[in-house]
């Protein structure tokens, strides 16, 4: 059952091959059996999931169910779930049970989707290896001594290990695409503003975007139809018409113009990853696409600009975690200052503290112009690069991350090495563009991801290109050993 795609599950549910309760129970049992190894879930909501599945079965029997009704899904623990602990991977929120659902959780619940639980993640989505989680690291199902990537490491590992048919995730600088790449699955980060941020715990508000981890592009398209909605509660949500993302999956790629930025194939890219990506591009040529060398001249500014803007925004976004109204509070505070200092010192992990400090520094009097204002200028230049590029091409392709999954501890002592993990993904967040990662090969036993970047609101075109690739390749069907 767990090897079926969501598209297949929908058919089987309607043909009564199994019920939603059976399907849900199957995944719950797998989580119970296997997740002690992977640690991809922070919370498993067994009782609620079975209740939702029973309700879904009734709706399916009545014959008026939403296509996704009865399909189990895992939510990244950054999305608020009413009545279910939402930790954001932090000790700070270990005891936090929100009284409301995130917008995307509402959307899926309304469709009758079953929530299996909440997936592990880097603390407050800050990290590229899932090693900063208060709940411990997640193992990469393809290599247990390696990281799954981050910050959505739990979502990626759970989908790769078939503990969930799909999972929601979020991407601020690559947090969907990089773990999707390292875990050999399909990940999509839609255009900034396409998906409501209501109820998604903020890391860097101008960069954060909810998205999906699936095994196939077809499943991603299907789930996108419900993920996307206009929400007036999020002022940055854009009221653009929402297409049926499954409608254009089968369009021919003949005439599609693919841009290959030379900056994404320079120093730092591992040979194995480079050759898998180049092979994938050749496949696209065979499918009728034309390939064009392009340049994104300000690419080198992306990582430095990001590591000013994201910490600056997070330094303010995380101020609300002060031990006063909810979340972690230190024992026996002596006075107000002590309450603040100890609650935050004890409640946050090192990486979160590092970024808050960097952000405070970048915004402080006398440094604002040198750092924050300059980073915003770089951001505009990077965005302009893409605007120019999309005048010439329809999609941009390259590697998602410089190399396949690395071992635990390999980069956790060196923040800069860790930050360079996102060197190819960060620019799209700064520009607000949509991006995907799909499996395109392996190096040894480890998967490699191909990154696809689209123009604003061109998710359908990206999904079409990804689906066509998957119709002609088998990389997305590979499964890690030991999951059955």
């Amino acid at each position: 059952m767990h090897n079926l795609t969501i598209t297949q599950m929908i058919r089987e549910l309607r043909q009564k091959r199994f019920s939603s309760v059976e399907l849900t129970q199957h995944f719950l049992t797998r989580i119970q059996k296997l997740d002690a190894t992977y640690n991809s879930f922070i919370s498993v909501t067994e009782e609620q999931a079975l209740a939702q599945a029973r309700a879904a079965d009734r709706q399916l029997a009545a014959g008026e169910a939403h296509p996704l009704c009865g399909i189990p899904l895992a939510h990244k623990d950054i999305f608020c779930t009413a009545g279910v602990r939402t930790s954001c991977g932090s000790k700070m929120l270990d005891n936090f049970v929100p009284p409301y659902d995130a917008a995307i959780v509402e959307n899926y619940s309304r469709a009758g989707v079953v929530t299996l639980g909440k997936t592990n993640m880097d603390e407050f989505a800050m990290g590229s290896s899932n090693e900063t989680s208060y709940y411990g690291p997640v193992k990469n199902p393809w290599a247990h001594n390696c990281v799954p990537g981050g910050s959505s490491g739990g979502s990626a590992a759970s989908v790769a290990a078939r503990l969930a048919p799909a999972a929601t995730a979020s991407d601020t600088g690559g947090s969907i695409r990089q773990p999707a790449s390292l875990c050999g699955i399909t990940g999509i980060k839609p255009t900034y503003g396409r998906i409501s941020r209501w109820g998604m715990i903020a890391f860097a508000s101008s960069l954060d975007q909810a998205g999906l981890m699936t095994r196939t592009a077809e499943d991603a398209a299907l789930l996108m139809n419900t993920l996307a909605s206009f929400d007036p509660r999020d002022s940055t949500c854009v009221n653009e018409p929402i297409p049926d993302y499954t409608a254009s999956l089968n369009q021919s790629l003949a005439g599609l113009k693919i841009g290959i930025p030379k900056e994404y194939f320079g120093e730092g890219l591992s040979a194995g990853t480079a050759s898998a990506v180049e092979d994938a591009i050749k496949t696209y040529e065979k499918l009728g696409a034309s390939v064009h060398a392009i340049t994104l001249p300000h690419s080198n500014l992306a990582v430095p600009a990001y590591y000013v803007i994201a910490p600056a925004e997070c330094s303010a976004n995380l101020s609300r975690f002060d031990g006063v109204r909810y979340g972690y509070r230190c024992e026996n505070p002596q006075n107000l200052e002590d309450l603040y200092k100890r609650s935050r010192s004890e409640g946050f992990g090192d990486e979160v503290k590092r970024r808050i400090l960097v952000g405070c520094y970048a915004l402080s009097a006398g440094y604002y112009d040198a750092y924050y204002a300059k980073a915003q200028k770089a951001r505009r230049l990077i965005q302009q690069d893409f605007v120019e590029a999309f005048k010439q091409v329809d999609l941009i392709m390259g590697p998602t991350s410089p190399s396949p999954a690395f071992e635990f501890g390999a980069k956790s002592k060196d923040p800069v090495a860790m930050y360079l993990e996102d060197i190819y993904t960060i620019a799209t967040n700064l520009a607000g563009l949509p991006g995907m990662s799909i499996p395109c090969g392996t190096v040894g036993s480890k998967p490699v991801g191909l990154q696809i970047i689209g123009n604003y609101f061109a998710e359908a075109r990206m999904l079409n290109a990804a689906h066509q690739f998957q119709q002609h390749t088998q990389f997305h069907e590979l499964a890690p050993a030991g999951i059955n």
Partner: protein
């Protein structure tokens, strides 16, 4: 040495929107603590602000009323600091691009002179909650009902030179925002709060002295006292060879004393930056014109109209137009009675005195505008005398019904019929022959005073209902 004070104000004006600046919670005052605080106001994780359009309309109205440029693009920024009544750990405000740019307000001072105070800018921001330090056994309570209430902060140039000028500005601003209907003006509930920046310098010196800021003054009286006190303190410090420390001060209206709250060294670096959760707000010409069309008549225009069209004196027109509620009440009385001058006298006289005595605002007056107009009509048509009118007014104040009800219940009707008055007068002269003889033989200039005796007797005999003018006429005839 002669010293010259220099004063600038920062005024927090609570906007009279029904819901908060960034959430749908009610802004009503006085609810149980934390009953008007939503997940957004509590800064629960994952919640997001959405801006209140009505606050922009009100701020635009204010900008137009103070002759200011309305910025076509305004940007919210985060002002970062930690305090328990600031749930997000930052206040959402405007800094580099506020909605209202430079403008001015022309004051008419008590001595009739005019003074222009320039407004540097006004910006929209959210209020904080309240910390309650009593009744929690050594702990503090937090009430977030006020957190997120929309404010405009009006920042003036340091254009005022005395407590009188500063209070004059404050009063005029109060009158303006209440007339616009953008603030309820209730200072006791904190709807307007004043921060006063004060420095002094030797008269004639161009360079400004070091200033202090006295925060959170919430009455005109306290403001006047605090300014006078601080000017004196600064002069004393300087004259005894000391230096003024740049600091924030608090004035206690009960003890009439001020103290240092924090010095400049303790001041925060607020690390302002544009709020990424809120997009820049762009107002176009059509929007601004629309707001302009919907603006109510401003106090200044009212004053001019009262003089030109209703024939009021400058002083009466100024007083009545100064407060929106008073102006509305007066206009209603004038309209219903058709007697603007009498309406002005009553509103500023007996009504104002009673309201003052019982500490009521005009909107709480037990005598409605319609009732007062009824009184003026009866006064005007001679049914009652001015003296009776006061009796009627007091009866209406105690809830005994409208003018006609009171008149008939108390049998208050002027006796002006000549026959009955003549009878009364004849009777009195007959009973007091000596006084009558004295009067008749007295010199012309002594007579008016002596007439008083007969008027008093006649009034007594008519139980106060004699028409005084008529009575006078008859007495003069009969005593000739």
């Amino acid at each position: 040495m002669e010293w010259e004070p220099v004063i600038g104000l920062e005024v927090h004006v609570q906007l009279a929107t029904r819901s908060k600046m960034f959430s749908g919670s009610s802004t009503a005052f006085g609810a149980e603590p934390n009953t008007q605080a939503s997940a957004i106001d509590l800064a629960m994780p994952g919640t997001l602000p959405s801006a209140n359009a009505e606050a922009f309309r009100m701020a635009t109205m204010f900008g137009l009323a103070v002759n200011a440029e309305i910025n076509r693009r305004s940007v919210f920024e985060r002002k970062n600091y930690f305090y328990p009544d600031l749930p997000k750990g930052y206040q959402t405000t405007q800094l580099a691009q506020p909605i209202v740019g430079a403008g001015y307000l022309d004051l008419t001072l008590a001595d009739g002179s005019n003074k222009r105070v320039r407004i540097h800018h006004a910006h929209i921001e959210e209020d904080a909650g309240k910390s309650l330090h009593e009744d929690f056994h050594g702990m503090s309570g937090i009430d977030l009902n006020r957190a997120g209430t929309p404010l405009i902060e009006v920042v003036t140039e340091p254009d005022m030179g005395s407590a009188e000028e500063a209070v004059g500005f404050a009063r005029q601003l109060h009158s303006l925002v209440t007339a616009l209907g953008i603030c309820d003006g209730d200072m006791s509930q904190g709807s307007m709060r004043f921060d006063v920046n004060i420095s002094v310098r030797p008269k004639g010196q161009a360079k400004l002295g070091t200033r202090t800021e006295t925060k959170n003054l919430n009455s005109f009286k306290f403001m006047e006292e605090a300014i006078a006190l601080e000017i004196d303190r600064q002069i004393q410090v300087l004259e005894s060879g000391g230096r003024i420390a740049q600091e924030t001060r608090l004035y206690n209206g009960d003890t009439k004393k001020a103290r240092t709250m924090r010095s400049k060294e303790d001041s925060n670096d607020y690390r302002y930056f544009p709020c990424p959760d809120l997009l820049p707000v762009v107002l176009d010409e059509a929007y601004i014109e629309d707001v302009r069309r919907q603006m109510p008549e401003l106090p200044e225009a009212k004053r001019t109209r009262y003089v030109a069209e209703l024939g009021l004196s400058e002083y009466d027109a100024g007083t009545l137009s100064g407060d929106a509620a008073t102006a509305a009440y007066f206009e209603e009385v004038a309209r219903l009675s058709g007697q603007a001058k009498l309406a002005a006298n009553w509103v500023m006289g007996d009504l104002a005195a009673q309201l003052n005595r019982q500490e009521l605002s005009i909107s709480q007056s037990p005598v409605s505008a319609a009732h007062l107009a009824g009184l003026i009509k009866r006064l005007d048509d001679g049914t009652i005398s001015s003296k009776m009118a006061k009796t009627v007014f007091e009866a209406m104040w105690s809830g005994e019904g409208d003018t006609d009800t009171v008149i008939s219940a108390k049998g208050l009707r002027m006796v002006s019929d000549t026959g009955s008055l003549e009878k009364i007068v004849d009777d009195i002269i007959a009973r007091n022959p000596q006084q009558a003889a004295n009067y008749r033989s007295a010199a012309e200039d002594k007579r008016p005073k002596m007439l008083g005796f007969f008027v008093g007797q006649a009034m007594k005999a008519s139980q106060g209902q004699a028409d005084p003018q008529q009575l006078n006429k008859i007495l003069l005839e009969k005593l000739r």
